[in-house]
């Protein structure tokens, strides 16, 4: 008799349990969906807020080309815009070859010894150092020790230090993602390790490398903390017809101080003396945002385009 009563109650309990865990599953899925919705909403809100608030200035040519004003309304961001791109180009010119070399060494050559461990730890350390610390080191070393002052050169070297760990990691991952068979095939054909790297591995890894470099360019473009004590917080007016490389108004002079867009936003907000502070900082932020969006799209597009060319041939 005990069996007869306990069998249905067990079945009922099992059914109840099944219903409960199914409800739990649906509930969890609902919560997870809500979280993702929240993240997407925040993202859209941030990008939308910046673009909408700065829209008025974004298409204002005089804002984009004229020089900033300190105590009057109506200042522009012409020099800052140029400085940001100039610093970015210089930084990439220095950091890409060094990172490429370092990544090739770590991915292909590095012997398994103490020196390699030290080097790997050093790069990892650099990647986790706060950018303000990198900036302060730049101030100490490039600005004071080397005597280059607040200058584009000091700034781009500080940005290089900020950028190298990011680039080394991406390039190394791209190289390591190339299938082992490609290496073996190269070596079996009588190529040396170096030739295999140059002719086989680098081309195969190129799409990922280009995407990584362009994405890192976006990070460099928006970096400010590493720059306030290296490239300085002033932007002398630039004269594009001046080719005297020692003059402060020559745009190409690497020894002139150069405030970038990101530093400009920070500086005018911390000083707070510009009358049209909100309009200028929103406009600058919108310009910065558009550039970052462009870098993101370019990174994706360039990676795909190169991959298509390589595989089509």
């Amino acid at each position: 008799m005990a069996d007869v009563t306990s069998v249905p109650s067990q079945a009922v309990r099992a059914a109840r349990h099944a219903r409960r865990i199914a409800a739990q599953d649906r509930f969890a899925t609902g919560v997870l969906t809500a979280i993702v919705g929240l993240v997407l909403a925040v993202l859209v809100a941030i990008v939308g807020y910046i673009l909408v608030n700065g829209a008025g200035k974004l298409f204002d040519v005089s804002f984009l080309t004229s020089k900033p004003e300190q105590f009057r309304a109506g200042g522009g961001i012409g020099p800052e815009l140029f400085n940001s791109f100039y610093l970015l180009v210089l930084t990439l010119v220095i950091s890409v070859p060094v990172s490429l070399g370092a990544a090739v060494f770590l991915a292909e050559y590095a012997p398994d010894n103490a020196a390699t461990t030290v080097a790997k730890t050093a790069i990892e350390t650099l990647s986790s150092l706060p950018s303000i610390v990198v900036g302060l080191f730049g101030f100490l070393f490039f600005v004071l020790q080397c005597g280059w002052g607040f200058s584009i050169l000091s700034g781009s070297l500080a940005l290089t230090m900020f950028n190298i760990p990011i680039l080394v990691r991406t390039i190394q991952q791209a190289l390591e993602a190339v299938p082992r068979t490609q290496r073996d095939a190269g070596l079996a054909l009588g190529l040396t390790k170096w030739e295999t790297t140059i002719h086989v591995l680098l081309p195969a890894a190129m799409p990922a490398i280009v995407t990584g470099v362009v994405l890192s360019a976006g990070r460099v473009f928006g970096e400010a903390a590493a720059l306030i004590y290296t490239a300085g917080q002033s932007a002398p007016a630039l004269d594009f017809l001046n080719f005297d490389l020692t003059s402060a108004s020559c745009p190409w002079n690497v020894f002139r101080p150069a405030e970038t867009l990101a530093v400009h936003i920070w500086k005018i907000n911390s000083e707070g003396v510009v009358p049209d502070l909100e309009a200028v900082s929103n406009g600058t932020a919108a310009v910065l945002m558009v550039c970052i969006l462009a870098f993101n799209l370019l990174a994706r597009w360039a990676g795909k385009a190169i991959a298509r060319r390589l595989t089509a041939e």
């Binding site: 060494f105 790297t197 903390a225 870098f295």
Partner: protein, 297 residues
């Protein structure tokens, strides 16, 4: 060029790149450390007074005639914003990582991950600016305070570290072997039971690494925090009173003081503290990695 020379040449050039980076990092650590230690070696300030002193006023002498350079308010501020922002960001980051790995992988790869990458790329000053005009204003509207303070800074930081932690968590969950999930489903588990009991459990070490990396970023962030925290060097009494962090004091102060003055030396000590903390964070990550490796054979 003969092959063996080409090979030697390649090895030398790439090796030199690694050596250059290593030397730069070592120089950085040595230079910041030597400047930071000058406070204690040359200016006669006791390490204990610096780390545990609660008054930060380097222009005024204390009872012993030393400048009052207690860094505890900034240390508390840094830890408070780091922990609070992590607490806010972590559930959201892991939740969305679970969603894109377990629930909707196609959506995750095509839509969510590119968008998260975009969020990583937004400059910190832009976050600071939004913090200033939206978060601070919102906090002010309901709290009756100025709106500047640890709460505002933590909210801004939470949004900033969210993409970092999310994308690392996605990697962590995606690297859990597929067989584990199949085994769990074969036992009749629901998706949530599988996620909770199998996937999250076996990804715990990597998720902890993701968290620590997010904390490293929050701890070292300077400009966005400086813009919204109010910059008052006092032990924070509540989440709504203006406070300051190691980074915010450094950002504000370094430009105003001549090299070699006591105030300047103390600022370098703060930089040293900041550097030491990020080294500690790396060490923790290595310990977690090592333990995970041991446990998984």
């Amino acid at each position: 060029m003969p092959k063996h020379r080409l090979e030697r040449c390649g090895l030398t050039v790439t090796g030199a790149c690694v050596a250059l980076v290593t030397v730069l990092v070592v120089t950085l650590i040595v230079m910041v450390a030597s400047h930071g230690l000058a406070t204690f070696a040359n200016d006669g300030i006791a390490v204990g007074d610096f780390l545990l002193g609660t008054t930060w006023n380097p222009h005024q002498a204390d009872a012993n005639g030393n400048p009052t350079v207690g860094a505890l308010p900034m240390i508390c501020g840094s830890f408070a914003v780091t922990i609070l922002s992590t607490v806010i960001a972590l559930p959201i980051a892991i939740g969305s990582a679970i969603f894109v790995v377990e629930v909707a992988p196609g959506f995750g790869r095509r839509v969510f991950q590119p968008l998260i990458e975009l969020l990583v790329g937004i400059p910190s000053v832009v976050y600071g600016l939004i913090g200033l005009s939206v978060v601070v204003a919102w906090t002010r509207s309901w709290s009756g305070s100025t709106g500047y303070g640890i709460l505002s800074a933590s909210i801004v930081l939470a949004v900033m570290v969210l993409p970092t932690v999310t994308s690392l968590s996605i990697d962590a969950l995606a690297s859990v072997p597929h067989e584990y999930r199949e085994g769990s489903y074969a036992l009749g588990c629901t998706r949530w039971q599988t996620i909770w009991n199998v996937v999250l459990r076996s990804a715990t070490p990597s998720l902890m690494t993701a968290t620590i990396l997010g904390m490293t970023r929050a701890f070292g962030e300077s400009l966005a925090v400086q813009m919204v925290i109010g910059n008052s060097a006092q032990i924070p009494g509540s989440l709504l009173t203006p406070a300051s962090t190691l980074t915010s004091v450094l950002t504000m102060g370094m430009g105003n003081e001549a090299m070699g003055t006591v105030y300047n030396d103390v600022l370098w000590s703060l930089a040293l503290l900041l550097m030491a903390m990020s080294l500690v964070f790396i060490l923790i990550i290595h310990l977690i990695g090592g333990r995970g490796a041991v446990r998984h054979g």
